[in-house]
């Protein structure tokens, strides 16, 4: 034994290498991870408990739905996980697609309820389509006339959408003439196609216009997609026709079961085509078809459960977060208070943020990464600017609110508390984050691609346009959408630019007064009635988190899609 030890002295008991430090470090890391996750989970659980109040229901209610809905779905889930993983993905997607479609459809329903009437939408889409058709037709007929093409591209939309000359142009000229005393006044103008449609003495029913301008394009897109994927025009046409027909029939039959014709058309447009395309693909591949059972069981279980609960007389829970909460405005009585106007306000604010921040932020990132000099005193200046941008990302949000107050309200004298002011103030706040994340994405494009492109004799613009940007897009999109997630939850800048604590009516335009969800939640937190502080507030928080989750999920889906493409 002694000789053996002498020969293999690296394998003896005494020669084990010490690992205590490493184990301890691993344990500490685990504790840190768990502490973070668990505390957030506990908080979410409390908020959800307050918002949904599951304990206010009869135990029997819980039992019935557990048996009809939760147990079968869990069993299916476990089975998919164990033995049929593709089916699990199918189940996941078929259950998720209608939810996404529902959200998009809800967005459109809100747009038609708050922002523009169906006939205005119809006029807009038809005249835009005519303008595009004119440009395309010109390109076909005279492919060589480049300058003429440019003129057509500029003029066709103006003529179609705004008329000749546009109202704003006339007003500007007349104002200028009045100010300078010139004896000119523009009165003659020819209205564009859009205004002509709006002035028609009669228009088709709302649902027909929606069918023409919303359902048909979406159905056509789905049909084209299928036609290309299956290389069969017939299949694509069948799909497009089926979707349109479903929407049309539903629009006539919908009112019988209490769904408005317009709402039905919108719902059908955004739920049917993606689902049809996906299910068709699953059936054709005949892989994971068992997953299609999942949504059927979910719907069936809900219906059976509802019927049983009614028959047995079990009372359901009385959640704060219900349909009424999502569709009504703030009220003095907690039971009637809702979040609808601020939900709309938040989404409109996001639109302002996207339109203002993304072009500026991504443009700045492209300049800093691809064009800006890196040597000499200009290079030093660029470095200084980059350091400043990084620091700006950490400036407290209340300071950005102050900036918004000074810039938009004091200097530009815009009315305080409007969507545009709130959106721009929060947009300033996330601009540095957008720039930095877009810079990161552009920087992660390997230099060898740029070298290859320049080596082929590409100009810098061609290299950026054809090599760098396609490769950086998923990263840019993920980073910027995550920045939006931060924007939607910001409260301090809204306080500074005078956003109302709560409003009765959703804003009808970007220059209207509005309130946003976090602002409303903040004002609920200081209500005297504890029902506001414990119930309504929790429901508001859950709604805000749900919107945030949808945005982050979008970011993840976009990223995954692009990664799969490469």
């Amino acid at each position: 034994m002694a000789t053996g030890d002498a020969q293999h002295d690296w394998a003896s008991e005494a020669s084990q290498v010490g690992r205590t430090q490493g184990r301890l470090f691993e344990l500490l890391c685990l504790v840190a991870t768990a502490a973070g996750i668990v505390s957030v989970m506990i908080l979410l659980a409390f908020v959800a408990l307050d918002a949904f109040r599951p304990l206010s229901a009869d135990p029997g209610w819980h039992l019935v739905f557990f048996l009809t809905l939760v147990a079968p779905l869990s069993a299916l889930g476990v089975w998919f996980y164990r033995s049929d993983e593709p089916a699990g993905e199918v189940a996941y997607v078929t259950a998720g697609l209608p939810v996404v479609g529902l959200l998009v459809a809800g967005g459109f329903i809100v747009i038609f309820a708050e922002l523009l009437s169906v006939v205005e939408w119809f006029a807009l889409v038809v005249s835009a389509a005519v303008a595009v058709a004119v440009v395309v037709a010109h390109g076909r007929l005279r492919p060589q006339a480049a300058l003429e093409r440019l003129a057509v591209m500029l003029l066709a939309p103006v003529v179609s959408l705004y008329g000749v000359p546009p109202v704003a142009f006339n007003r500007l000229v007349n104002q200028f003439a009045a100010a300078t005393g010139l004896p000119v006044e523009l009165t003659v103008r020819y209205i564009g196609l859009r205004e002509a449609i709006l002035k028609l003495p009669f228009v088709p029913a709302d649902w027909l216009m929606l069918l023409a301008t919303l359902t048909l394009p979406v159905a056509a897109a789905a049909g084209l997609f299928t036609a290309r994927r299956r290389e069969s025009r017939r299949d694509g046409a069948v799909l497009a026709a089926g979707v349109s027909l479903g929407a049309a029939v539903g629009a006539v039959a919908g009112p019988l079961v209490g769904i408005g014709a317009e709402a039905w058309v919108i719902l059908a447009t955004f739920i049917l085509p993606p689902l049809a395309v996906y299910v068709e693909g699953v059936v054709r591949r005949s892989e994971g078809t068992a997953g299609l059972v999942f949504p059927v069981v979910a719907i069936g279980g809900t219906l059976v459960g509802a019927a049983l609960v009614q028959a047995l007389g079990f009372a359901g829970p009385e959640p704060w977060l219900d349909w009424g909460f999502l569709t009504s405005a703030h009220s003095r009585t907690p039971a009637e208070a809702g979040i609808y106007p601020t939900l709309v306000g938040s989404v409109m604010m996001i639109v302002v943020i996207v339109l203002s921040t993304f072009p500026v932020g991504i443009g700045a990132a492209i300049y800093l990464e691809e064009y800006a000099p890196s040597t000499g005193w200009t290079g030093k200046l660029v470095t200084l600017i980059e350091i400043n941008i990084s620091n700006l990302a950490g400036v407290p949000s209340v300071v950005y609110g102050l900036l918004g107050l000074a810039l938009f309200i004091r200097i530009l004298t815009w009315p305080q508390g409007t969507v545009i002011v709130g959106g721009l103030a929060v947009g300033l706040l996330i601009l540095p984050i957008v720039i930095i994340s877009a810079q990161e994405a552009i920087r992660s494009v390997p230099d060898s691609y740029r070298q290859a492109s320049y080596g082929m004799g590409a100009t810098r613009w061609q290299t950026i346009r054809q090599v760098v940007l396609p490769e950086a897009t998923p990263g840019i999109l993920t980073g910027t959408i995550l920045a939006l997630g931060r924007a939607i939850g910001e409260t301090a800048p809204l306080l500074m630019v005078g956003v109302a604590a709560s409003i009765r009516l959703a804003p009808n335009g970007f220059f209207d007064l509005y309130s946003a969800m976090p602002r409303q939640i903040f004002s609920w937190s200081s209500e005297l009635d504890p029902a506001f502080r414990h119930g309504v507030l929790a429901a508001g928080v859950i709604t805000l988190l749900a919107v945030l989750l949808v945005m982050n999920a979008t970011a993840i889906i976009i990223r995954n899609k692009y990664q799969r493409d490469h």
């Binding site: 000099p373 040597t375 070298q451 492109s453 320049y454 080596g455 082929m456």
Partner: protein, 302 residues
Amino acid sequence: MTPNESTTDDGTDTATAADTASSTPDPSGEPLVDHDISVGESTSTDASESARGEPVIESRHLDVFYGDLQAIDDVSMQVPPEQVTAMIGPSGCGKSTFLRCINRMNDLIDTARVEGELRFEGKNVYDDDVDPVALRRRIGMVFQHPNPFPKSIYDNVAYGLRIQDIDTDVDEKVETALRRAALWDEVKDQLDKSALDLSGGQQQRLCIARAIAPDPDVILMDEPASALDPIATSKIEDLIEELAEDYTVIIVTHNMQQAARISDKTAVFLTGGELVEFDDTQKIFENPEHDRVEDYITGKFG
């Protein structure tokens, strides 16, 4: 923007200013002309002359600096047309730098500075009226590591045509380039697959196809086979020999046997960016003039 007249004769300051001045706007500028690298002055070389053996590329007292570091020291050489010219030498001897001077890829490095003359078809490519973008469209390049774009195989090969706005017979040109790069049979059924799914050797041949698709005059290769296994390497070598029937090929390599196998002329660079010997490959490998070259080739040094 100072005129770049004095690059050959005097101080470094002028040259720096002129070089940055000419390099900054380059990549963004549109090509001045499509089929001629220079403007205002016609090139003196034509097809009949190059057939007589006029050098396609000729350097005259070329010096290259990266900041204060001199990478190329007074190199003068003449590269004959439609042959393979190999450049060998230890790491850091400036052979890659010389290669990148020919199509002005060094312009992309801010600190790089070039003095002396480098003539392509008799015209100094560092003259003011030369657009490096137009120059690079005449001189293709293949890099050390295969770097196909993350696009489809077809789009990779068609890239050079697309950026030059060539939209006639693209399919035929892509097929011809892939055939010449000995890749067509392997990829003809998957032209719309991502180029990144190919093996390393296939990727490098794809890069060669991409470089020859717009039909350049010269192909520069920077250690094209150093990241590949022996089988892929031998395919690339066969390919280079075939390409030399129509193109002037300049190849940088660390592999002495490779240079001996495929090249007609060999240039030996040794430390400090100095061109020690440039002659027929056979002479370099069998009877070099300089002892240092012999030491390097036989492995006593470097």
